[in-house]
Symmetry: C2
Subunit: 348 residues, 2 copies
């Protein structure tokens, strides 16, 4: 008989170092909640898609971060996802409705109280006009991150040079393509030849390099950005950021969106930036941002803009789809190994 | 017979390490230029005051920086100053006029072509209503730096916590007092007990500490800023900045105005920042700026604001006056030793 329900629980928190199967408990055939279990305001959902994102790594420490809660040992992990309502004791939700949210548990079935959920909404209006999968794909949080960081923080002007690290990833793909759409010279970095090929051929970045294959990131950027770097979309932090500071133009803008290179290190082993002193001479601005802050004011504009680009056939968004929730832990490990290619999601 | 003219020439450029007398040539009784030496558009001036500022240290390398030219070996060094016109072949300047500029040579007498001078202007209108010395004092470039960085980059809101490093210096004094005027809780750091006393008693900072006497800057900031740091006016860079990042509030703003702790180090010995990864989680903004960019748009507003505060008797500006141009090299060395106290200037 097929497994009818899966739950992915956090078994062992882990502060630093690589994740492995021992961090997770994959529970098969856990009891399926029933309509009769629902209390007032609760809904019963079947989870359809889950998003696998870098910000889940710091949550594995079980320590609350300034921007997101740690996971809880022994409980299901959670993240962005799409679900279908099976039963409801909440006046706003009916069976058959689809919902999306930022703290959907990694379980096949869940009882949720929408008012305890973060960034939770019913897919209606414009949001219901696109394929369900888009909500963990081209309209996902990482895609919104790329859009916001480039457009609002980068303030691109035609002819400027944009550098994007982790450029084939969930955020980077969006930044590269929007960069081209805004008339920028786009220099992209990725960590495999397949990704480099994709960035050149499909996303049409002007220059692409494999950061693992170059002697010096700084030397490579110097060669590829002869007029200096005007905008850097920083997905990785660490040594790459240092190399960018060295090659930054006057008045360069840095959108600091993540530091995936540092998530698995403890504070003793974190990369130490040597070029901070260049900030004032070059009048560099660096702005850290978390996209959670911007759903309220900017999400609708983002959805409109990107949906139009996708529907016009101008916009690509490569997905890395894992089938089966039982394979969720593996999807997460791949993300931190950098062996995923494209936006990682799970078809539950 | 008294020495009638002095010139301070750059004898030995120096990339890193402490300056000493051997870097300078003090030329006494150099020939005094005469009115008959003037070519069209030139003026003959007697220099009255010179400003001694931290940004002169990188100029001692003789390498052009992105923001300012290096000094030239064998030539007089130069900087902000005030001079009196003795003779003129320029229609806009008459004998008796006073002028100010950013590249006044460290020589008792000079022939200048105003169109080759940077930020050069005749003291007229509002600028002529204040004592001459103010132009290398409370209205000097460092003071403008403090005003701009706090008001425009810091965007202070009453009740917020401001941290100022090098707080008794030429920039810091202005930041501390404006911070109080804007209703901020001001936490100031300096490097001697006398400076600490001055910051507490005269400038009325809420909390002051001697960074040389504490076990840990980060631990001290944690104790003194229980609600976190909202604005950091960074005059020093390095370890202090790291400690601020560790104790920054969400949405903290950092005005990166200088890194005096790093000027005498080469790039191998520069402090390496470990807390860069906190930028996005805490949504920190750091903006490097150079006040030279802002004379055109903001200098008049600054002069009006600060002149009013000084005239109202609310504003202090401690000066560290060196008498005699021949003592100029010593004034510069003191600045980098941190043994000056207050804004350093030379009465020529």
């Amino acid at each position: 008989m097929a497994v009818e329900s899966i739950q992915i629980l956090l078994k062992e928190p882990q502060a630093s170092g690589s994740l492995s199967a021992k961090n997770f408990d994959v529970v098969e055939n856990a009891p399926i909640p029933q309509e009769s279990d629902l209390r007032d305001q609760e809904i019963l959902v079947k989870v359809l898609y889950l998003s696998v994102d870098p910000y889940m790594r710091p949550r594995m420490t079980c320590v609350n971060q300034s921007y997101v809660e740690g996971f809880k040992k022994g409980k299901p992990i959670n993240g962005f996802g799409v679900a279908e309502v099976l039963a409801s004791k909440h006046p706003h939700y009916q069976p058959g409705d689809h919902v999306t949210g930022a703290s959907i548990p990694w379980t096949t079935f869940s009882v949720l109280n929408p008012s305890n959920q973060s960034l939770f909404s019913k897919l209606e209006g414009d949001l219901a006009k696109v394929p369900l999968q888009w909500h963990v794909g081209v309209l996902s949080m990482p895609s919104f991150t790329g859009w916001y960081g480039l457009v609002k923080i980068g303030q691109p002007k035609p002819g400027e040079t944009l550098v994007v690290s982790a450029a084939s990833g969930a955020v980077g793909q969006v930044v590269v393509q929007l960069g081209k759409a805004y008339g920028l010279r786009v220099v992209a970095s990725a960590g495999s030849e397949t990704k480099v090929e994709y960035l050149k051929k499909v996303l049409k970045a002007d220059e692409v390099f494999n950061y693992k294959k170059v002697d010096s990131i700084s030397g490579t950027l110097k060669k590829l950005c002869p007029k200096g770097i005007d905008i850097y979309f920083d997905n990785v932090g660490g040594e790459f950021l240092d190399a960018v500071l060295e090659n930054a133009s006057l008045y360069a803008r840095i959108a600091a969106c993540g530091a995936i290179s540092q998530y698995e290190k403890d504070s003793q082993n974190a990369y130490r930036l040597k070029n901070q002193y260049l900030f004032f001479g070059k009048r560099i601005s660096m702005k850290g941002f978390l996209i959670f802050d911007h759903y309220k004011d900017d999400y609708v504009a983002f959805v409109k803009d990107i949906s139009k680009r996708v529907n016009d056939g101008e916009f690509h968004y490569k997905l890395d789809v894992t089938k089966g929730l039982e394979n969720g832990p593996r999807a997460m490990m791949k993300l931190f190994e950098g062996t995923n290619f494209g936006k990682s999601l799970i078809e539950v």
